[in-house]
């Protein structure tokens, strides 16, 4: 009995020790976001004398994070809609339709997944310049959609492959066109897959750094993730608390997903992984 009890304590000690490096920095950031710059420079481990909620107000208005959040919502919202529609269409075509070139198309999609954006970054910036999209949120929206699209497409393909073919055939017997089978039978059944793709696309573009950093020059167009990375200890007046408060604000979408939709998101991830 004693040894099992001892084992139990050892287990708790082990897991807590393992979790500490992951939890502690996050707690430190949370605490510091309610502190003052003077307090942080003097003793950053000490609790602030009160909760400086005004840090958040300052980040929101003074440091213009309302603008950055708006930009991020505009970019991520557009990317999410575009990817939701395009990935459903493309995913259905490569999983459920028989047409010449399907295997080649699938191969191209696979190759696009393993091709890092960095490998064609310079020509991509020139394409964007030629289209007259330099320094615009549209450039970020279009490039993010195009470069990320292969992953959700494969995810949708796995979802469509789990649906029984007989459903489509039943529709065809009833006189539905191929479009009707897609639009009114298969697409509605793949709703949970689409939801996973929407979450995935939103979080991806909300968190992305590279494409905003490449295509946005004017600070009033920055997305929140990019804006935070520009608030670094470079100047002589270091404003730590604003940066900490802004990073806590940036966790908003992820918190919503964690509280409401985590199971679905993970289920989507693993299904995509098992069959991808």
């Amino acid at each position: 009995m004693l040894s099992t009890k001892l084992m139990r304590y050892a287990l708790y000690a082990l897991v807590i020790l393992l979790a500490l490096p992951f939890v502690f920095p996050s707690l430190w950031v949370l605490m510091a976001s309610f502190s003052t710059n003077t307090q942080i420079t003097m003793d950053s481990l000490a609790l602030p004398d009160r909760l400086y909620v005004e840090n958040y107000a300052h980040a929101w208005t003074g440091a213009k994070f309302s603008t950055f959040v708006y930009n991020s919502l505009a970019v991520s919202g557009s990317v999410t809609v575009l990817i939701g529609v395009l990935a459903t269409m493309l995913g259905y075509a490569v999983s459920r339709l028989d047409f010449p070139g399907r295997r080649l198309l699938l191969l191209l999609i696979m190759m696009a997944i393993v091709t890092p954006v960095f490998s064609y970054l310079e020509p991509l910036t020139r394409v964007v310049r030629h289209l007259g999209l330099a320094n615009s949120r549209t450039a970020v929206i279009l490039t993010t959609t195009a470069t990320f699209l292969p992953v959700p497409t494969l995810l949708m393909r796995s979802f469509f492959l789990t649906l029984p073919e007989e459903l489509g055939d039943a529709g065809r017997v009833e006189g539905a066109s191929e479009w009707g089978v897609f639009r009114h039978i298969m697409a509605p059944l793949a709703r949970s897959g689409v939801l996973t793709v929407l979450i995935f696309a939103f979080l991806w573009s909300w968190n992305d750094l590279l494409l905003p950093a490449v295509f946005l020059q004017a600070p009033d167009k920055y997305t929140i993730a990019y804006a935070i990375t520009t608030l670094k200890p470079a100047g002589f007046r270091q404003d730590h608390v604003t940066m900490f408060a802004a990073s806590i604000i940036s966790t908003g979408p992820m918190i919503v997903v964690y509280l409401l939709l985590m199971r679905r998101f993970i289920a989507g991830l693993t299904v995509g992984g098992l069959r991808g």
Partner: protein, 318 residues
């Protein structure tokens, strides 16, 4: 561009006339469903990706109106024969190895410790291991410029509090340790991702497997080795592939940690993406950026292919 798109777009062949009406309808629908996505990817992925390969064989600054001269592999020689490049390759490879094993192994062990034991309350521990993922990689790295700060930073403050008052590492300022500090942020953030995916995978394992193993007198370690690990094998391959790709291109970590002075101090945190970013965005050397892009492409596709081939070959046969 349009020539490329029409080449890739599936076209009805001669067999069109002999095909059944269902087949014809499917081809038409495929055309409608595929075309918009293919145009997007054609413009923003395939066209620049093909251009990068062509460009890498020219000597061009990226600004002059004509493309300059065809110089064969000279651009590759110029882009690779220097200290920043050798640093970038060394760091990228090391980072790939770290990505493949460190966050995945910690994530798997943590997930097994929480899910396969009588630890309570489980939601609290799940939350604890997932917390870093609330921040994006870039924001996490930006935060760690503070966590790593030599004077007020969290880590050195903890070291002080533990009594080691004369130990003050310059985590990001010391060229000997900066790359490991950067990898630390990567591991901190990506372990959460591996953890949550492994948690979902372990929850899907049939519980009766565990019960019968217990009846047979298997120890906890044996259960982990002979039931948990084989059951999550496919998910592990998926997670490791992602970690490999992200680990070979961890721009979102290095950029916030080392800007201004991207890749510093003195090229110690240089990776291929930072070199490419500098050449591409400052726009003074399009050809070299393209050559480095081709090298990165070969590196990532080559390593991922070898890894997947190895996983396939060592897969248990049933």
């Amino acid at each position: 561009m349009s020539a490329l798109a029409s080449k890739l777009r599936p076209r009805p062949l001669e067999s069109w006339r002999s095909a059944s009406s269902k087949a014809r309808e499917q081809w038409l629908l495929a055309l409608v469903l595929v075309t918009p996505a293919l145009i997007m990817m054609g413009i923003f992925v395939f066209y620049p990706a093909l251009q990068t390969i062509g460009l890498s064989f020219y000597k061009w600054d990226g600004i002059s109106p004509d493309m300059g001269n065809f110089v064969g592999f000279k651009t590759f020689a110029r882009a690779t024969d220097n200290y920043p490049f050798s640093q970038a390759i060394k760091n990228s490879l090391l980072w790939g190895v770290v990505g493949l094993f460190v966050p995945t192994i910690i994530g798997l062990i943590a997930a097994a410790l929480v899910e396969d034991t009588n630890l309570r309350p489980k939601p609290l521990f799940r939350f604890a291991f997932f917390v870093p993922y609330f921040f994006s990689m870039a924001v996490a790295a930006a935060l760690f410029t503070r966590v790593y700060d030599p004077s007020y930073g969290m880590i050195n403050q903890v070291i002080q509090a533990l009594g080691f008052t004369d130990v003050k590492p310059q985590w990001l300022g010391d060229g000997r340790i900066a790359i490991y500090a950067a990898m630390g942020v990567f591991v901190w953030h990506e372990t959460a991702f591996c953890y949550i995916v492994f948690t979902a995978a372990i929850q899907q394992i049939d519980r009766s497997l565990y019960d019968s193993a217990k009846v047979d007198g298997a120890s906890e370690v044996q259960v982990f080795r002979y039931i948990t690990i084989p059951s999550v094998r496919d998910v592990a391959t998926f997670v490791m592939t992602i970690m490999l790709i992200v680990g070979l291109t961890p721009f979102a970590v290095v950029f916030p940690l080392t800007t201004p002075g991207l890749g510093g101090p003195y090229y110690s945190t240089e990776i291929l993406p930072t070199l490419i970013f500098k050449k591409a965005r400052m726009g003074y050397n399009a050809s070299e950026a393209a050559a480095l892009g081709v090298i990165l492409l070969i590196l990532v596709i080559g390593i991922v292919t070898v890894f997947l081939w190895f996983r396939e070959r060592t897969a248990p046969k049933d």
